[in-house]
């Protein structure tokens, strides 16, 4: 009969092992250790900066040196609400954000649907990569590309010329550019949302007598709606805060450009006006959450 091998006592001894056992028994400490660096960084560097910005909105500027004077008051906010120009700019930006969102939703849906429900797995992967890659191609390169194409002697005029048309005006050009920029942000959530719809639901609808258009209208679209809202968060927010494209393409003042130009004459006013897009997006996010967008992200 072969002898049963002893169970060797677990190796103790070296400090590393003891430290590791300590962490194993007190795994909250290990968890804290893991989280300390990233959370510390984000809270101190990022949240701290945001809080500073929020506080700065209540401060003043020294008129001659443009230094920030920590004199707490509501003057900046009063100025924003009273002067028409701020209100006009804000409305203009919100309007554009809405138009861009609608355009992107309409453009994104066909390709997202194709990717989610028609294409085979290999093609689907390829398409995901194809849609994702330009997201990382430089923002500025795309901005430059559009400005070049929409220019007096650019591509767009060249294409439309023979038809007697000319390049679209400032507002339309900007709308087109924004739509282009944020399109991948709308495609991907809609694609993910459509992919999640179980086939069984669509089959059930067909079994109950619904033809494809009806099924699409009554089943697919409502189920995909939260995903559309999720995508809209990006298109809306990105348009709301953009400070480069409006000046570059349309030479117009939007919320972003105003904040950007105000920042050199005084952080407090810029910070106060920056509260506007933050407030708008907070409301938007709350509504979006109600509509189920967060589950679709």
């Amino acid at each position: 009969m072969s002898s049963v091998p002893h169970a060797e006592p677990p190796p103790r001894g070296n400090p590393r092992r003891r430290l590791s056992s300590f962490f194993h028994r007190h795994h909250h400490v290990r968890l804290g250790g893991l989280l300390a660096a990233p959370v510390g960084w984000l809270v101190i560097v990022y949240l701290g900066s945001l809080v500073l910005l929020l506080m700065a909105a209540f401060w003043d500027t020294e008129p001659f040196t443009n230094d920030v004077v920590r004199h707490w008051n509501l003057g900046n906010f009063r100025r924003i609400f009273e002067q028409d120009v701020y209100r006009n700019v804000a409305w203009r930006t919100i309007k554009m954000a809405g138009l861009v969102t609608i355009a992107d939703a309409v453009l994104a849906f066909p390709i997202a649907y194709y990717m989610a429900r028609v294409a085979g797995p290999r093609k689907r992967n390829l398409l995901v990569v194809a849609v994702l890659t330009p997201l990382f191609a430089s923002y500025l390169v795309k901005a430059f590309a559009w400005r070049t194409m929409l220019g007096e002697q650019g591509l767009v005029n060249w294409v439309l010329g023979p038809f007697g048309l000319s390049a679209p005006g400032d507002w339309t050009s900007l709308w087109l550019t924004f739509t282009y920029f944020w399109l991948p942000f709308m495609i991907l959530p809609i694609y993910a949302g459509l992919e999640r719809i179980p086939n069984s639901l669509l089959e059930a609808s067909a079994d109950l007598g619904g033809r494809s258009v009806r099924t699409f209208w009554k089943v697919t679209l409502p189920l995909a709606f939260p995903a559309v809202v999720a995508g809209s968060i990006f298109t809306f927010s990105l348009t709301l805060g953009d400070y480069i494209l409006p000046g570059l393409i349309a030479d117009q003042q939007f919320i972003g450009t105003v904040i950007y130009s105000e920042r050199s004459s005084g952080l407090p006013v810029a910070a106060a006006f920056a509260m506007v897009p933050i407030a708008v997006m907070t409301v938007y996010l709350l509504v979006a959450r109600r509509l189920g967008a967060f589950k679709a992200l």
Binding site: R16, L34, L47, L52, S138, G154, L183, G241
Partner: protein, 264 residues
Amino acid sequence: MLLRLGTGLTLAFIYLPLLVIAIYAFNENISQTWPIEHYTTKWFRVAWEDESVRSALLLSVKAALGATAIALLLGMLASLAVARYSFFGRETISFLVILPIALPGIITGLALQATILNVFQPLGITFSIWTIIIGHATFCIVVVYNNAVARLRRVSGSLEEASADLGADSWQTFRYVTFPQMRTALLAGGLLAFALSFDEVIVTIFTSGAQQTLPIWMFTNFGRPRELPIVNVVALFVIIASIVPVWIAQRVTVEPHGTTGGRG
């Protein structure tokens, strides 16, 4: 099929501007007319010999490497915490990590600049490559984090428990079990973070002071008609420099059964 046509058109729409700019890099003429009359490669040499372009390129590369390193470390730590433990506030961590990329860039940029001007400068720290790196790292964390968490969720923790059962301590488990599983996800996250940092401009404008990264160089030269040919070349380079890492990252994390999630 109509759907296939729509998809093709949308894809064409997405890639057209990039192709147009790539073609413009070979345009002989200084003015940006279309169609292009003469093609040349001379602007590539001119761009390379431009001192400001080269130093901007160097700064961009250094900043991207620094930001990627920090993002890899912090993203990996955070992902390990979130994917392998359940604790109070876990969703808040996810929210916190995403926030820098979710808020409009101008808010992030303005906030960081406020900190630099009002907190760092009184302490004697001014705009430098480190302010750029700090800004970039903050929103690159999420890119690494997302990839790592997705991978950790797909690979269950039972292997780590088995490793512990077999007598490995935490460091050994991490080194021999967890990390190898995460490696390609971290690589992908790192490549994406690099690409993101390399062509970032929206927040960098606020955190760079007088320095010029490559995108900032482009931005300042948009309004200089004589420099536009060089801008075209730089643009082409930036397109390639961002597409290549992203493409590699995708190949490295290709999922064996197509995309996640099933149907039906």
